[in-house]
């Protein structure tokens, strides 16, 4: 990871922590506010439910307490007195006619009047109950004396008998020896749940079996998981008979919390992005000179010692850059000096070798000339014979000198390669056609090799030099040439083509594997020692490299690696 990227990350990370902390804190505080409001709404709903239930209880209790003052009840008592404890037909008609209106005017859904024998005298909510026996009102009046309790009652509704949950109370009313018991009841239904409905607040009444009796909404589904409060309604025996559930729709709360979470996340993300951009800009500014410096270093590492990095800042990076530039300049100067020294040394070496090479023929020439002068001066009888032999020697040595000078000229004046796209296998084939030798050459050429961008003639020269070097090595073995073998291989390497020439000659001392490419280095009795030097120079000029591997008695192998075109 680059320094710039790291700087950017560090800056972003450093900014992210406070941003996240701030966003989380803001989210927590605002959402707490929402939740608190929601809880208050829920508690208020339950308080409303409790209050509403209490209001109904109180109304029923008061209705029972006022039963004695009701004209209908009073008329029944009078009629009973007039008719010896039996209701007259006229009174029955009156009850039948006006019972329902009386019940409804009192806001009741249940009104039962029974006599001392528990015979129902009036039941507007269930006319079919009249004249039946119902001990419940007198029992309730005796047990609870006007107190309101919750219980089930049967009422006739839409032609059907249905059971409704009621708050009911019963009280005995007496008048001059006559007694009736009045049971009043108010249904727990819409009158209980409807007032609880508020914006977002719903209520429903369910019985002990979970059956919904009344609800403020028919689509309670979304409220199933909403937070709610329960008011457990108990019957006379204190057993749960129903539950009044108020629920506050939390969809809005959840939506707000989601929006809040999204908002804080978005703000945090935007802040983080801004921090990252700022960090990037700062890092870029900070690393701009460093990047230039890195580029310069890489350039120098690539061999370009002319590289100079422009200095913009005056800080530590500027100082380092200045030092780098100075170092580069000094390095170039040192290299130039070194190259010059090396060149001088090389030419000295070459000159020494050349001198040595030249010096070698001079001795026989001098000796031949001196021999001819001595024998001529001595009038040696064999002068003519000696003259012929000496001049022949002189000519041979002169030829040798000419050859030395020619090869040196070739080595020294090797032209720049004229590059063209070519197939290395074609080059090998071309070289083999020029090859003259009795040693068997085995071709092992790879298929589908990448093409090279190279000088055909120079590359042919490389192959020929390596073949002749191998041929000479096999020939110097002194054995039957028929067992000698030269193998030429080509193969592809990553981004390069490899040319290999292997022989089964005498090999060479591994200590010579570098020197073997030096000009005028040779292990052969004949040869100028420039063949492999020319190979390396051509290969190097083509951006490739050449190596030699061998051991005494185990042959030699030369590998040329050239970059693909």
């Amino acid at each position: 990871m680059t320094l710039r990227a790291r700087f950017t990350l560090w800056f972003s990370g450093a900014a992210l922590v406070p941003i996240v902390a701030t966003a989380a804190l803001a989210w927590w505080q605002i959402s707490s506010g929402y939740r608190e409001t929601f809880e208050q709404k829920l508690s208020a709903a339950r308080d409303d439910a409790t209050r509403e239930f209490g209001r109904i209880r109180e109304a029923v209790r008061q209705a029972a307490a006022a039963a004695g003052d009701n004209p209908l009840v009073g008329a029944v008592l009078v009629d009973l007195r007039k008719h010896g404890g039996e209701l007259s037909p006229a009174q029955r008609q009156d009850l039948k006619k006006n019972g329902l209106a009386t019940m409804q005017s009192l806001g009741l859904q249940v009104l039962t009047i029974v006599d001392r024998q528990d015979t129902v005298l009036a039941a507007p909510h269930l006319v079919a109950w009249v004249d039946e026996n119902d001990p419940e009102p007198r029992r309730l009046a005796g047990a609870r004396a006007g107190a309101a309790v919750v219980g089930w009652q049967r009422v006739l509704r839409d032609g059907k008998v249905v059971r409704v949950l009621c708050v009911e109370a019963a009280r005995a009313v007496r008048d001059e020896g006559q007694e009736v018991t009045v049971l009043v009841g108010r249904e727990l239904g819409d009158n209980l749940v409807a007032p609880l409905k508020r914006a977002g607040v719903e209520a429903r009444l369910v019985d002990a079996g979970g059956r919904v009796l009344h609800a403020t909404t028919s689509s309670w589904g979304p409220l199933e998981d909403a937070p709610g409060r329960e008011l457990v309604l108990e019957d006379e025996a204190g057993q749960p008979i129903a539950r009044l559930i108020v629920a506050v729709a939390n969809a809005e709360l959840l939506t707000r919390l989601r929006e809040l979470a999204f908002l804080t996340t978005a703000v945090g993300a935007a802040a983080t992005l801004a921090a990252a951009l700022l960090g990037f800009a700062v890092a870029r500014r900070m690393t701009r000179d460093l990047d230039a410096l890195v580029g310069g270093v890489l350039s120098v590492a690539g061999g370009d010692l002319d590289t100079q990095v422009t200095v913009r800042s005056r800080d530590e990076v500027g100082a380092v850059t200045e030092a780098f530039n100075r170092m580069t300049r000094e390095l170039r100067e040192s290299k130039d000096k070194l190259l010059h020294a090396e060149r001088v040394a090389a030419w000295q070496d070459i000159a020494k070798n050349l001198a040595h090479e030249i010096k070698n023929p001079l001795t026989p020439i001098r000796m031949s000339v001196e021999t001819m002068r001595k024998t001529r001066a001595a009038g040696h009888a064999s002068f003519d014979e000696i003259f012929d032999e000496s001049t022949r020697t002189i000519l041979e040595e002169v030829e040798r000198l000419r050859k030395i000078v020619g090869e040196f000229t070739q080595f020294a004046r090797l032209p720049s390669p004229e590059r063209r796209t070519l197939d290395v296998n074609a080059v090998v084939a071309s070289a083999l056609s020029l090859y003259h030798g009795s040693v068997r050459v085995v071709k092992d050429l790879g298929d589908g090799l990448p093409r090279l961008d190279a000088d055909r003639d120079q590359l042919t020269q490389v192959v020929l030099n390596l073949l002749e070097n191998a041929r000479d090595a096999v020939a110097s073995k002194g054995s039957d040439e028929s067992v000698g073998r030269i193998t030429v291989r080509t193969r592809a390497r990553a981004g390069a083509v490899e040319l290999e020439v292997e022989d089964n000659g005498p090999g060479f001392d591994p200590a010579f594997k570098e020197r073997i490419f030096a000009p005028y280095f040779t292990t052969k009795e004949s040869g100028t020692g420039l063949g492999l030097a020319i190979v390396r120079r051509i290969v190097t000029e083509h951006g490739g490299r050449v190596s030699a591997q061998g051991e005494p008695g185990k042959g030699a192998r030369f590998v040329v690696e050239l970059p693909a075109g």
Partner: protein, 487 residues
Amino acid sequence: MAARLTLLALLAASVARGESRPGYGGKLVGSLLSQPTTPNAPNAPTTIDPLLAASYAELTLVGLVFDGLYRVDAAGRVVPHLAEAMPTTAGLEARIPLRAGVRFHDGKPLKPADVVASLQRAQRAPVTEWALAPVDRIAADGQTLVVTLKRATPELAALLALPQLVVTPGGRAPARGAVGSGPFVLKRMDAGKVELAAFPEHFAGRPYLDGLTLRWRENADAEARAYEAGEADFSLRGAVGFAGHEPKYPTGALEGPATILAYLAFGRAHAEVTGDVDFRRAVSLALGRAALRHLGSGERVIPALAPASPDLGGPTPGPEESAARVDAARAALRRVRAPLPRALELLIDRTRPDDAEVAARIVAALDQLGLAVSYTALPPSELQRRVAAGQCDLWLGQLVAPGTDATFEVAAAFAAAADRFATVQMAVGPLAGASLALAFDARLPVVPLYHRSVRVHYRKIVYGLGFDGLGRLSLADAFVFAGTVTP
């Protein structure tokens, strides 16, 4: 002086008689609790055809427009009407002399052939076939009706006194302009109103009234309000419709015999259940009939179980008896083989004011058995249509007494339930009370609920009102007193 005193006494007696002396003229407007009749009128009875008439109002109207061979008088006796005398029987042939000179409202003479055709049509009608089951053949011999019997039928005159067995021209079903031979001519039938005019040529003499208008209202309260406001001269609700109210005019009341049988019948919507006699027994047992005596607006209501045996319920007022009865009902219900439906529907006639209360009691009673029943109030025509189509589980019906013989009511009950048991029995012998009760128990075609009477409230200017032996309001002898009436 003596002569003067005698004259004063004669004058006083004359004035005293003058208040109740029949006089011709005048018209009456009255209501029979939502009664007669035009087709398609929402609350109207459905027919004036005697063989289709079933309700009290329909049969009362039939009695005003048509005549039968015999009738049941106020004392419950079967007396000749179109017949001149009681049947004379020789072996299996009965001969009935017909009254001569009788004319239809259109002026045409009522001939023996009209009688024959009318009775032959009645032989094929579901509601009357049981009554004529003993009759093999009917023919006329001059002015005498010759009835060939399948068996000895001493009750033939009583059977021929059935209110449905009246004579129509050619025995045809009356069309809109029904023509009969009765004391009143049907002049006009409109929605909510039937207008009748006196038939001057009625064989028993012209009615005192010139005309009679029968109105029916939306419901019983509407009828009561009309009477209280003085818009009707007689009503079956009226004076007791609103406690504490006083009708506009001085009023009197007259109550007939408790001859109308109210029953609970069974439909075919869940025939596999409602056709099961154990289900019917369970229903009968569940119904506490004691409280039914307080139905209506003060009319006589007699909780009824007969002809079913007392084991199938009855007026058992005590809580212990009620509990035992309900337990027995539950046991009977458990014996029902078919699965019980989740809900049952009870149909009632919305024009009968007491039906809703009776239905409520039935619903409440069956609720104790765990049967979810709801009742639906329908116009009479719709009720009849639904019943005929079998589209209900239970329905409330009323049966006007077909005669003074109790077995006739049982037979009519079978017929009302479309059960031909009585018809088959009647063809071979008279219905015997004990065996008939056993058969009724075994089949329980309907569940009897109560008998009730009809009470008519009338302005005190109306005289001569009465009921025949079948409990039908008799208006043929009514007349209007034109003088001052003391409340």
